[in-house]
Amino acid sequence: MKHQFAYLGVAYTAIWAGIGGYLLFLGRRQRATDRRLEELRERDQAHRE
């Protein structure tokens, strides 16, 4: 019985690790893109001035 729970724990952890990992990865990519966009916007403003 304990063995079954441990096994089930591994399966459920694998699912949530996959989903959570992907959401974290999305967040990281979004922040990097936002940063780069902001950088370009500032350069564009500086260029106009």
């Binding site: 019985m1 079954q4 729970f5 096994y7 089930l8 591994v10 399966a11 459920y12 694998a14 699912i15 996959g18 989903i19 992907y22 959401l23 999305l26 967040g27 990519r29 979004q30 990097a32 893109t33 936002d34 940063r35 780069r36 966009l37 902001e38 950088e39 370009l40 916007r41 350069r43 564009d44 403003q45 500086a46 260029h47």
Partner: protein
């Protein structure tokens, strides 16, 4: 041209959906562990509906309530890839391509999770994690098709052409989805028969069916949430590509600006 600020903060809808998905998942877990039967009936009772003569606790079966909804959501994701790809080829509007690309990425994640949970379920049942059974093999092929779709997009030097070819892969690749599903009906596979979408109606007791459908709804909500986040990222990428193209057209400003700058900043399309 000033680069647009497309990256909006998470709206109320996204936050609300996150809370709903988390609550739905919690309710689903409670139902899985405390409502649906956990006993595996080894020797059936004297008549249908009678208690079993011999039953053993079977918690491994709880993987089923995650595995099946994940598989359905993977089908849904690839269906959205199909719709987005057809619409993109027809209209050439970027938003359809963004939709297809986002859905393919999430579909690959869900197919990967479906394969992993299936293998974990299969080990105690079949004595092996993997066998080249029709359903398993076709699911693995489905995973490879859409991994190929993502790799192709990542490597295409011409974004416009890459999107068009990827759309064709997305359309052709969808042909494997009904094959995966009906392989359980057409062939005598090691994989258990389809018990929810069955020609003879659902083959599950009420508590199991309700829990299963609940989890399908929860995972569909999770898919929508992921799509909202992933398409927002796609919009930001497109805005960045436009801004970088505009920056390249201007006289060289001081400092590292342009496409190489994006690589340095670790931004991948």
């Amino acid at each position: 041209m000033t680069p647009p600020t497309t990256a909006r903060r998470s709206g109320t809808g996204t936050i609300l959906l996150t809370i709903l998905v988390a609550l739905g998942m919690a309710v689903g877990i409670v139902a899985i562990f405390f409502w649906v039967p956990t006993a595996n009936c080894l020797v059936p009772g004297a008549a249908p509906g009678q208690p079993c003569f011999d039953a053993r606790p079977d918690y491994i079966q709880h993987i089923f309530y995650m595995h099946v909804p994940i598989a359905y959501v993977a089908y849904l994701a690839f269906g959205v890839v199909l719709v987005g790809s057809v619409a993109y080829l027809k209209t050439s509007k970027r938003r359809w391509d963004r939709l297809a690309h986002a859905s393919a990425e999430i579909g690959v994640l869900f197919t990967g999770l479906c394969l992993v949970t299936g293998m974990l379920w299969g080990r105690p049942r079949w004595g092996t994690f993997w066998t080249w059974d029709e359903t398993l093999t076709l699911t693995f092929v489905l995973f490879l098709i859409y991994v190929g779709y993502l790799l192709f997009r990542g490597m295409a030097s011409d974004a416009e052409r890459g999107a068009r070819v990827a759309a064709v892969i997305g359309i052709v690749g969808f042909a494997d989805v009904p094959l995966v599903h009906f392989s359980m009906v057409w062939w005598r596979t090691l994989h258990p028969a389809e018990v929810v979408i069955n020609p003879a109606g659902p083959q599950l007791p009420t508590s199991e069916l309700v829990t299963m459908l609940w989890m399908v709804a929860v995972y569909t909500g999770l898919y929508i949430l992921m799509m909202l986040l992933r398409t927002r990222l796609g919009r930001a990428h497109d805005a960045l590509a436009d801004a970088e193209a505009a920056a390249e057209d201007r006289p060289a400003p001081p400092g590292p600006v342009g496409r190489s700058g994006a690589v340095q900043a670790g931004v991948q399309p």
